[in-house]
Structures are given as structure tokens and as C-alpha cells.
Amino acid sequence: MNKAMYSGASILLKALGEEGVDIVFGYPGGVVLPLYDELYLQDKIKHYLVRHEQAALHAAEGYARASGRVGVAIVTSGPGACNAITGLANAYYDGTPMVLITGQVNSALIGGDAFQEADIVGITRSCCKHNYLVKDVKDLARIVKEAFYIAQTGKKGPVVIDIPVDVFTSKYTFNYPKNVELVGYNPNYKGHPLQVQRALKTLFEAKRPIIISGGGVVASNASVELKEIALRLQIPVVHTLMGTGTFPDNLELSLGMMGMHGKYCANLAVANSDVIFAIGTRFSDRITGCLKKFAQDAQVIHIDIDPCSISKNVKAQIPIVGDIKNVLNMMIKELDKQNHKINLEQKEKWFKEIDEWKTKVAIPRKTSSKLSAITVLEKIYDYTKDDEPIVTTEVGQHQMWCAQNFKFNKPRKLITSGGLGTMGFGFPAAMGAYVAQNTLHNNNKYVLNIAGDGSIQMNIQELMSAVDYKFKVINCIINNGYLGMVRQWQEKIYNKHYSQTKISSPDYVKLAQSYGALGLRVEKEDEIIPTLKQAIDFDGPSMIDFVCENFEMVYPWVLAGQPIDKVLLSREEE
């Protein structure tokens, strides 16, 4: 047994080392000083300094989602930890494995309203998977082990470890536990064999089947299995925003994204299906629209690792609790065994209907001579598609235009804030994604952040971090002078009362330059590619201000509360 004594700070870093952590994002402060001192004295873990704690969390999430590993962030107590809440909630919603280390005031002072004290375990309870307050240095190694285990098993998510400053300085031996013992936590990975058989039988008999692929397929790394199932059973696939890239967009069976701004054919196919095979989706209101009228004829087969997601919004007739990859492999084995012949005639009519729906697409219409955001994104996609860069987005119109106009054939290529819808997510997430590809694959390819003029201003301070570390993040700002998505709702539903949605911007070119980044502006269509090329060739972060049409709308559009087959395709269609 190892009898050497270590400080809590040292134990924490050793434990992180045991978990394979070599990257952390963070921001120092009073009570985490002992930890930052330990960080200073070692070189195994690289710490990236951000400019705001929220960005540390988003960067850790970008890192986690690009790599599939656990993202780690360190912040100080009180304000530092409070600033991290949005990032934590975002990761919780989107099921991203993360561990957040927060400093806490001296344990003797807890509850006494000490300087920079906040009840972080209390505050974060409802926006993380689990949290710990470490009261004794003896528990620290075990808690870190448990935190990493909880973060990356079951439905993945963030775990908070709140560590008082005296625990960082107290001494204890270091023995990292090999196993975790959590009586109350045993995620079910297997999937029930009888349910799997029932699911297959239902899919064989279906005349109008559809697969909905969600973010769970990314989390479970099950794209290959999904593709095999869809191709062998010849079932068309739609995906949610979080499921982007799980089924290659270039395949015939792919109908694209469904939901509020999903494709007409994707929404119609789901609405008219007789069997929905939902894989790793929680049926958010953004994909179901009016729940009562959602796919009324459909039987629902639902695989999810999280029993809570099943029958929460849409009742599942065949629920399968389990890891998606495992369950799909069980189905594939069963298919091999049964040697079932797929009867294509049975679905002939269905494919014909879908082909007809495919012809109905959104009709964008420009109202001025300014650049169309859709054109900008089409051109960016077209120019960068062979590089297959990681794309992050902020939240709003640009996010939807990006999801609609970029094609993704691989998972983990689009990193976006799906559940919480956090403006300011994209830029720091792009930094984290860049770190992931750079350190894990030694790949210094650029990362694209598709942004809006509203969103980019929410974490614009990160330009400094990006410049310091030479992150090759290209911020493509779709600058339409409005908080476009909110304005779009105001135009349609609130009588064009543009209440507080007209938003001004700094001179992004000068701003970028003042930080030491590359700032560029595009006002004409023929400048798009040369400018983009300039940014790609630049060794560091850049900002391109695309001065766009103010009133462009995102179509297709299903208004909130409407059934998903009530799709608007243009302004005129009312």
C-alpha cells in the first residue's frame, strides 16, 4: 500500500490522471489556489484559461462531444461556480459526459455567508446528473472515481464535485479505487430479448415505417449499427437536431432533419407512419409539435438508455430500455438468425408517397439586395464539405439554416446546443472541439462556428483565449441586425412588433483585430469564397462578418403547438 501523503489538490490531479484526463478548461480564484498551485507544478494536465466560466463549461462540452471523452472544467467558488451553471444545464440537457470541479469556501465557514460562498450543491442539484460536496480528503479519490463513472454511463451527463479549500490542503494517502460501489445506480445496458423480437416483428409487418434517430445514437456510438438496421430492413430515417450525422445524409433512405424547422418530407413521413422506431430521442416538443395529434396511427418502438425518456411525451407500445448499440446489435443478430426476407412491395406505396413529399421544399425569398444567409451557408458548406470540418453553432436562425443546408455524413461533426438552446455556446464549444481534434488526432484543421450577430456577442470575450492558444476557429457571423429567430416569431405571431429584437453590433473587423484575430467582412456574394479561404489560411481565430438581409425567414416552419405535418414553406403560404 502506498503510504506517501499527498494534499487534496495533488490527489485530485492524480485521480484525473487515472481517468485519462489531460485537458481541462477553467478559471482560477481564491479557494482553488491550492489546486492551481499543483497544476503549475506538473505538466501532465494541460489547462486552458478562458475569459468567463460559462465558456469553460461550453469548451469542455465541445471537447467532450467532439471526442466522446469526459470534458473537465475547473472554476472557483461563488461567482465562478454560478457563472458555470448555464454550461452545466446545457450539458445536462444534451447528455454530455462532463465533470465540473468547483472550489468551495473552507468547510468550517460553510453556511456562514463567507466571501464568495454559494450553495453550489443546492444550486446545481436540478441541472446536473449528480453532485458531491467533499467534506473529507479521505473521500476525494472515491468521489472522483464515482463522478467519472456516473458521467459516462447510463444517460451521460455532467457531475459536479464541490471541494472546500481546506480539503485541497489536507493530506492523505492516494489509493485510487478500482471499482465503484453504488447500490442505487445500475444502468441497464442489455435490452430485453423478448422486446427486441417484438420490435423486429412489428418492423417486418410495417407498411409505413420510419426511424427517428436522436442524440442517443451519437452518445452510444451506434451509427454503424443504425445504418445496417435501416438498410437491411429498408426503413427511411429522419433525425432530430441532436441526431445530425448519425445516418449519412447522402443515402437514399435519409429524409433529413424533422421537427419545427425540419424537412417537409421528414415531418410528413413521421406524421403518416404506421410504425415509429425511435432510437435515442426524448421526443422533445420541438420534434413532436402538438402531442395529441402526433403520428396518431403509429405504433411506437422506443430504445433509450434512460427509462424516463420512454413514454414521457409519446407513449411507447414497445419500450426497450438499454444501450442503443447493444440493442441494435441484438436486432442484427436476430436478423441473421431469422434470415427474414424483406418484402419491398409491401412498402412500395410508402416510398412513392415519400418521393412525392420530397418534391415539396421551402421557398426562400429575398426582400432586398443584401446577401441571403441561406446563400452564404450553402456556399460555405460547398467550399468546406470535402474537409469535413467540425461545425458548431450558436442558437437561432443561423443554427437552423446550418442544420438545413449542411449535409453531415458522420456523427460528432455538428455540435450545437439542442435542449437548452444556449446562445453563446458555439464559439467556446468550437474551441473545445478544436482542442479535441488537435490533441487527440494531431489535426489542426479549422473548426467552423456558425453564429448570429446576437449569439456571438454573448461569449465574444473568448476571442482572447482563442488568440492566445491559436485556436483555428472561424466564426461565420450571419449578421442580420436582429435577434432573427425571435424577430421571425414577432413578424408572424406578434403583428411585427419588433420588441427589443433589433440589435446592433460592433465593427467585427476592428474588434477581431484589436484582439489579435483576423477580422473580415463580406457584403457581396462573390466575396464569400475568397474571404473564407483567407480565414482558412490564417493560423489562428478569425471572424467573418457576413452582412445579410434583415428579414429572411427560416422555412420550413411548424408553428409552436401545431401538428408537425402543418408545415409552412414560405411567407406567402398563409
Binding site: 436540478s126 435490452g191 422486446q195 419500450p319 430500455v321
Partner: protein, 177 residues
């Protein structure tokens, strides 16, 4: 249909576990009609008995969401099974010479017990089903109830099925079938 359900939750007896449960109910808009918490036979576990209201879908979600909490070991909806349910009511009533006889009669018939007599204030204890406690309170209301304290409900199934230790994995398997 929205009816009362008694949910029995076995939890690890650790700091903050009750807040996690209560936060879950308030955060997701579920009701708590009553709540009882005490350590189980081993001090490392506690039993939480929650009476809540909701349709079948809501109750299913409540059970699943409770199961999702890391310190929660087992969740059972006792309403699905034949269960023995108990609660306790303590009442203080002011009694004088005129109404004493009637009061004593009610106490005798209801199975309640006089715990304390103090300067015309009688303290009475009743245990039994929710309805029995409620009935006694109604009967004593005309006497002038000074104070009424009732416990939450505790409950246990008659069969060995739910009361014994059962981990969450089996619980999720059950959902599968």
C-alpha cells in the same frame, strides 16, 4: 384519472438525499400530499414514503425520475399492491364539564387514546387510515380543536414482494416487460 398514490422509496441515508427528492417534485411540478422519512432497519438506508397525486402517466414518470436519482435504491408504487397504510393524528381539544361525557364517548368509539390532560386541555392520539384520523378530527371539531398535528403516511405491502430489498436494475427490467 388523478388519484392518490403512495410511493415508497428506499434511499441511501446520506446528506441531501431528501432535498434531491423534494427538488425533483417541485422542479417537475409534481405534488406532495404528505411525506415521511426515517432510517430503515440498517442506518445506512432510509425509507421515504410520499403520497402524491397524478394520472397513471405522471405516477410512472415520478417513479422513473425518482429511480434516476443516484442515492435512490428502490421505488415502489404501493397503490399497485395490497398495502397496510398508517398515519397518526394528535389533537388538542378543550373540554368542560358539560361536554366531557360526549367527548369520552367519541374517544371510546373511535379507538383514540387520551395521552395528556392539562387544565381542561385534552391531548388525544389516533392512529389508523387517513380516513379514521380525518373522521375523528371532524367529530371533535364542534368541541373546538386547539391544535391538530398529523404525521404523513407510512405504508408496507402485505406480500414480501416490494418490502424486500430490490435494486434498480430489476426495476428497469420490469419496465421492459
Amino acid at each position: 384519472m388523478s388519484i392518490n398514490h403512495t410511493i415508497s422509496v428506499l434511499v441511501s441515508n446520506e446528506v441531501g438525499v431528501l432535498s434531491r427528492i423534494v427538488d425533483l417534485f417541485s422542479g417537475r411540478g409534481y405534488n406532495i400530499e404528505s411525506l415521511t422519512v426515517a432510517p430503515s432497519i440498517d442506518n445506512i438506508y432510509s425509507r421515504v414514503t410520499i403520497v402524491t397525486k397524478g394520472d397513471d402517466g405522471t405516477i410512472e414518470q415520478i417513479c422513473k425520475q425518482l429511480n434516476r436519482l443516484i442515492p435512490v435504491i428502490k421505488v415502489a408504487d404501493l397503490s399497485l399492491d395490497e398495502a397496510i397504510e398508517y398515519e397518526i393524528g394528535l389533537l388538542k381539544v378543550s373540554i368542560n364539564d358539560e361536554n366531557r361525557a360526549e367527548f369520552m364517548n367519541i374517544i371510546a368509539q373511535s379507538g383514540a387514546k387520551i395521552m395528556d390532560v392539562n387544565d381542561k386541555i385534552y391531548t388525544v392520539k389516533i392512529d389508523g387510515k387517513e380516513k379514521e384520523v380525518q373522521t375523528l378530527a371532524e367529530l371533535l371539531r364542534p368541541f373546538g380543536i386547539k391544535e391538530f398535528v398529523r404525521s404523513g403516511k407510512v405504508a408496507i405491502t402485505k406480500s414480501g414482494q416490494f418490502s424486500t430489498f430490490k435494486n434498480k436494475k430489476e426495476e428497469t427490467d420490469k419496465i421492459n416487460i
